[in-house]
Structures are given as structure tokens and as C-alpha cells.
Symmetry: C2
Subunit: 141 residues, 2 copies
């Protein structure tokens, strides 16, 4: 198998990694995912790793790369379904999953993504609200 399928679910993309990534598979996944974000204008990427019993430094770097690439394309990345043993090993090895968020499962991951997107949307409005407050303060003085 040369490619991991990327599923579109509304505003989000879902990738289920079921086998250990080797170089070519990882490179293909990165490029497919960036193209898919571009094509579908997805705002979030969910990566399910519940089938993986090990996450090594290579896999950690690939996940980080994906997260950074997606962010440049204005999409957030959430890694979901990590097995407890994987989390323990990650910390013991001192590996950090930089550039990605994590959530317990797909449903919680989608909630997290929705909140992030809403935060970004309201974040843009925050300046307006701040201005309004400033105006109110002026008027009361």
C-alpha cells in the first residue's frame, strides 16, 4: 500500500493510520493531506492512531510536520485515539508531539476542532468588542 486514504467529513479531514509509516508512505501522506486541505478548504485534520501500539521519533516528526503544514494552510491538526501505553512511552522517551493537539477520541477531537475554529472566529471579533468597551468607557467618563 502506497497511500493512506484521507476521508472528508464536512469541514474536517480524517486519516486513520493503521500501519507503521515508512518513508514513502509518510511523504505521500504529507503531500496528499496538504493538497486535500487546499482542495476541500478543510479547517481541521483528525489523525486517528488508535491502531498504533508504538509511536517512535520518526512518527512523531511526521505528525509534527503534518501539523505545521496544515497550520500554514489555516487548518488545525488533532491526533486522537492514542493508546495509554503509547502516551507513557512518548513521555519516557522524552518525545513531544509538537505542532499538533491531542484528544481522547474522534468525537472529542471534533469538539476540540470546533472550539478552536469558533475561538478563531470570535478572536477576530474580540477587537471590535474591545473597541466597543473602550467607547463605552469614554462615554461614561
Amino acid at each position: 500500500m502506497d497511500r493512506i486514504p484521507i476521508l472528508r467529513m464536512g469541514n474536517f479531514l480524517l486519516v486513520t493510520i493503521q500501519i507503521d509509516l515508512y518513508d514513502r508512505l509518510a511523504t505521500n501522506l504529507e503531500s496528499d493531506l496538504v493538497q486535500m486541505v487546499n482542495k476541500t478548504e478543510a479547517k481541521g485534520v483528525l489523525i486517528d492512531i488508535s491502531a498504533l501500539s508504538i509511536v517512535d521519533s520518526f512518527m512523531g516528526r511526521i505528525l509534527g510536520n503534518i501539523g505545521n503544514m496544515a497550520r500554514i494552510m489555516d487548518a488545525e491538526t488533532v491526533v486522537v485515539g492514542m493508546q495509554p501505553a503509547v502516551a507513557i512511552t512518548l513521555v519516557e522517551l522524552g518525545l513531544e508531539l509538537k505542532g499538533v493537539h491531542t484528544a481522547l477520541n474522534v468525537v472529542k477531537g471534533m469538539e476540540l476542532l470546533r472550539n478552536k475554529i469558533n475561538d478563531l472566529d470570535t478572536g477576530e471579533n474580540d477587537e471590535e468588542s474591545a473597541e466597543e468597551i473602550a467607547t463605552n468607557e469614554d462615554s461614561t467618563e
Copy 2:
């Protein structure tokens, strides 16, 4: 790998088959899926086979089994993402995917499932409507 991860998405379950199923993997998938339908009370199962470049009679039977098992548990099964070449081969080989519905992709599969569930819901009300119509006819006579 002994197990294919089953993801819960609201009312539905999603399975992405990325590698050829062998006996044990198939049996595990069947039992995992039935247990998951039972546990989550899912109303639909989506099986994505976009990564498969071949669907043989074994795979066809497994998909049919899953569809029949899920139906007994009151859930519909939709196979999504079939590659065009796979569809051609299926027909040429004379294989039918009995017991499952098909849809082009996950989004359309979810729509199909939602419609099926709604139909079932309204189907129960149809008798009442039919009775109402009968009553109306009686009154107009």
C-alpha cells in the same frame, strides 16, 4: 496488526479498511463491529474501502456478513469509496455486494444513512397517516 480500528462518529461507526483482510482480521472485525454497535447503539456503519484496489469473493462475503449482522442489530451498513476499477471487476466477476448499500464517499454515505434512518422513523408513522387518510375518506363519503 490484528484489529482494524472502529471510529465512532455520532450515531455512526466508521471503519477504514486499508489492507487485505485475512481470516483472523476479518473475524475480529466482525465481532468488534457487532459489539461496538451494541455498546454505542449506532444506527449506521460506514465502511471505507477507497484504499483497496481489489475486492475478491472473500472480501465480498465479509462485507455482506457485516451488513447482515449489523442489520440484526438494527443498523444499516454502507460501503463507501469504492475505486472505479473495483466496481468493474466486481461486475465482471459476477460478485454482488449483498446486504450492504454503497455510496460514492463518506459524506454521501452519511446522507444515505440519515435518509434511511429518517425513512424508518417516518415509516413507523406511515400507518398512522394511512389511518388518518382512511378516516378522512370515511368522513367525506
